[in-house]
Amino acid sequence: MTQQPVKFYQTGTFTVGNRLLPGDERAVQANMRRTNSLNSGHRACQGCGEALGARYAIDAAMQATGNRVIAINATGCLEVFSTPYPETSWQIPWMHSLFGNAAAVAAGVAAALRIKGGKGAKVIAQGGDGGTTDIGFGCLSGMFERNDDVLYICYDNEAYMNTGVQRSSATPPAARTATTMSVGRHPGNVFGTGKNVPLIAMAHHIPYVATASVANLRDLEAKVTRAMGVSGARYIHIHVPCPLGWGSQPADTIKIARLAVESGLFPLFEAVDGEVTARYQLRRRVPVEDYLRLQRRFAHLFGATPDTQTIAAIQAMADRNVRTFGLEAA
């Protein structure tokens, strides 16, 4: 959606690299000298979507800024698996303070950089959905409202994975978590009204908001690159499957992320100054069932007597996304 489709059909626009393209038109992740900002040896689970998303995003930011990125990390899986003493996987200046204050700490770093010059460094705050949509929400909103020069990236794996898969305000309806078990008359998470932080970010009229997915690398990189070229508060919400929490195969992480996008459950869009300016149009739309079936957290919807009512309700959510964001070509 954010870049010209490249007419190289063997590799298409969907693979990471493309030996047929000039170097500067290839994905950052295709580069032999990419920064690997999040280095090997981290302790993420097999097939971790967040580890992947973080490297995708930070490497792209590094490339966009000539390797001048400082990252502030909220408490959470990403923080814990990347920096257990005595080893860190980060190759960039990085700091973790608390669970709920990454946006504020980043605002402080940005303020210091403005005063001290900071060698042109740019600040990224990052956290999971818990650290962003729940406990860090106040600081995040404050950062947006002040228009601090920070890019905040939320890696959304839809629950508190670090503490053992508890529900967050980003957990989808019907999903099983440790605090919304698949028992009783309404198994899994409640059908709430939802908390769409990208839309809330847009309501602050910050200069740039985008959603992205680990399943669409080029789109993700283009968005991070664009965000790094903008001053002020920016927000990117990246969908990152969690094999542990979702009960999915580690090898299926990208596939599941792709199905989330192609079903319409996770719409990809961009917004400038509070207005949606671009959206990814579904390439091969699939029913939500294709997405749900691959995850044990939704297993109670299927089985001998599938819960067609609940599945239909989830499909309705996807349909609404398709309508409101215009995800299907007219």
């Binding site: 969907f14 693979t15 992740q29 040896g41 580890a51 992947l52 996987s89």
Partner: protein, 541 residues
């Protein structure tokens, strides 16, 4: 920086933590057999040469191509491309137009005058090849490259065999055929025309040949008894097509009927049309579905105004009229007479009922076995007589140019091994890269490029080539439609999608390696590999 203890750490220090120990499955890079390669009777590495064509390195692509087939320009035109039938891309949109790219490469080589690779050092061995058709040429080429001295003995006045005498010009222009054969001759293959071998053993002794490859084409037309009046003009397809290569073209008249349902029948009918026949009618005893001719040829013939009478047999010919009996299919699908007759005006009747090989040169060769008009050979293409190999139309097989070229190559490898006192062991075939092995999400949608075709009027009146070639731009486009099934094409997906950076990119053309120190065995690389070039195998303790 004097760093505070424990809370502040040096960058990237997690490299000390070897997460490879978490793994219970390991990814390995594999080369799986692309279905096109698997289907190619000539054993071409189609995916291999397409790979180079994709990047615009046509010379390299052509060099890869001629490793297995010295006649790509011809093959790109006349091969019935089973590769395309097998192509995985057909499940997405349409098969890659492999034949069109092959033809482009062949033509490009002729245009640029690219030479075949120089032969290896002289082996001191001499091989006699009988027949200058596709099989013989292929064997001669391969044997010459291996350093052997090769002589082709051709009975006829021209090279090319059935490529010349069986395939009309409008499908295979003669300058193309001549150009590609000349290139083989230029390697040092001796070609003796008008040199009929009457006895292979005598010829070998006389020429002090260490081995021989028999590649005589099926030039003898099969006949059928059709009662005919004295003035009736009945010819066979072989002589008609052969006659096209003479200075005097065959006289067929204004109304020509061709009897038969193979490709040859179509070739003759279309030739008749081009020779000025106002009516060219094919009479075939079964239905279109049962017709052995390729559908695209039937299509082209119909476009050119050829008429076909299905479910009909010819009972007799009187002067300028044929009596035809209508047939109907029985339960088993065999045509049965109905007793209904009709009359068809015809100046001439051409019989295209199949061909036989002249096997007289094999008389009295000890050990050599003949059955059903063809020579028995073993798995190594050797006949029952040591040192005498056979291929092409002479052996039990489908009779196509591509099969013949494959036979030639295979025989050459075995002859070479035999000459060196060994046995050729073909490398084990890789596991087939079926479509289930692929992750086709990554390929963008791109239907096959349509090759230009000559307009109907000129097709009906001239022997100009009907189907045009691709230009460089669309040849490259077409090459890039290849999915590279089972073979890494360096798309960087594995390198990109590894959450543990455990894939090492080795640089252009050098592919990738796994860093098992860090690979946790999640399998994402294998799952997201578009072409199925990564396998997950269990770790053994």
């Amino acid at each position: 920086m004097k760093k505070p203890f424990a809370i502040t750490l040096d960058p990237g220090s997690s490299l000390a933590n070897h997460t490879g120990s978490w793994r219970n499955n390991r990814p390995v890079y594999v080369d799986r057999l692309p279905p096109c390669n698997n289907a190619c009777p000539a054993g071409e590495n189609i995916q291999g040469w397409l790979y180079h064509a994709e990047s615009g390195d046509y010379r390299k692509a052509w060099e890869e191509l001629v490793t297995n087939n010295p006649l790509p320009a011809c093959m790109g035109r006349v091969c019935y491309h089973p590769c395309e039938t097998a192509c995985n891309r057909a499940t997405l949109d349409s098969a890659v137009g492999i034949h069109a790219v092959e033809r482009f490469l062949g033509d490009e080589a002729l245009r640029q005058g690219w030479a075949l690779p120089a032969p290896a050092a002289d082996s001191g061995k001499r091989v006699l090849v009988v027949g200058a058709g596709p099989s013989g040429l292929s064997a001669a080429y391969q044997l010459r490259r291996m350093g052997h001295a090769v002589t082709i003995a051709e009975a006829g006045p021209m090279t090319g065999g059935m490529m010349r005498f069986g395939i009309p010009k409008y499908r295979l222009p003669r300058d193309i055929l001549d150009g590609e054969i000349k290139r083989i001759a230029d390697l040092g293959v001796e070609i003796k025309l008008n040199s009929r071998v009457d006895s292979i053993l005598e010829a070998m002794t006389a020429g002090r040949y260490d081995a021989a490859f028999l590649a005589v084409g099926a030039h003898i037309a099969k006949r059928a008894y059709i009662p005919a009046g004295g003035a009736a003009r009945i010819l066979d397809a072989v002589s008609v097509l052969r006659g096209m290569e003479d200075t005097d073209q065959p006289m067929l008249g204004r109304r020509v009927v061709v009897y038969g349902g193979g490709n040859t029948a179509l070739d003759v009918a279309r030739t008749a049309k081009r020779l000025g026949a106002s009516e060219a009618i094919i009479v075939y005893r079964r239905t279109r579905e049962k017709m052995p001719a390729h559908d695209f040829e039937v299509q082209e013939a119909l476009e050119e105004g050829i008429m076909i009478k299905w479910l009909s047999t010819i009972k007799r010919m009187e002067d300028a009229a044929l009596t035809v009996e209508k047939m109907q299919l029985d339960d088993q699908g065999f045509p049965q007479p109905t007793g209904e007759f009709e009359t068809l005006e015809a100046d001439s009747l051409v019989l295209a009922l199949g061909q036989d090989v002249d096997l007289s040169l094999l008389d009295k060769v000890p050990g050599l076995e003949i059955a059903d008009g063809v020579v028995k050979v073993d798995r190594n293409m050797m006949t029952g007589h040591a040192g005498i190999f056979a291929g092409g139309d002479m052996v039990p097989s489908e009779r196509t140019v591509t099969v013949a070229i494959g036979h030639g190559k295979k025989a050459a490898r075995n002859i070479d091994a035999w000459l060196r006192g060994g046995k050729y062991a073909a490398p084990e075939k890789h596991e087939l890269a079926t479509v289930e092995r692929l992750n086709t999400w990554y390929y963008t949608d791109a239907p096959q490029t349509v090759q230009p075709a000559l307009d109907i009027a000129r097709r009906q009146s001239s022997f100009d080539e009907v189907v045009g070639g691709l230009d460089e731009r669309n040849a490259q486009f077409e090459a890039r439609r290849c999915l590279s099934c089972g073979n890494c094409f360096e798309c960087d997906n594995c390198y990109g999608v590894c959450p543990d950076n455990a894939v090492i990119k080795l640089g252009p053309g050098r592919r990738f390696e796994f860093n098992y120190d860090y690979c946790k065995g999640c399998g994402m690389c294998a799952a997201e590999c578009p072409c199925g070039a990564i396998a997950m195998v269990p770790e053994t303790i």
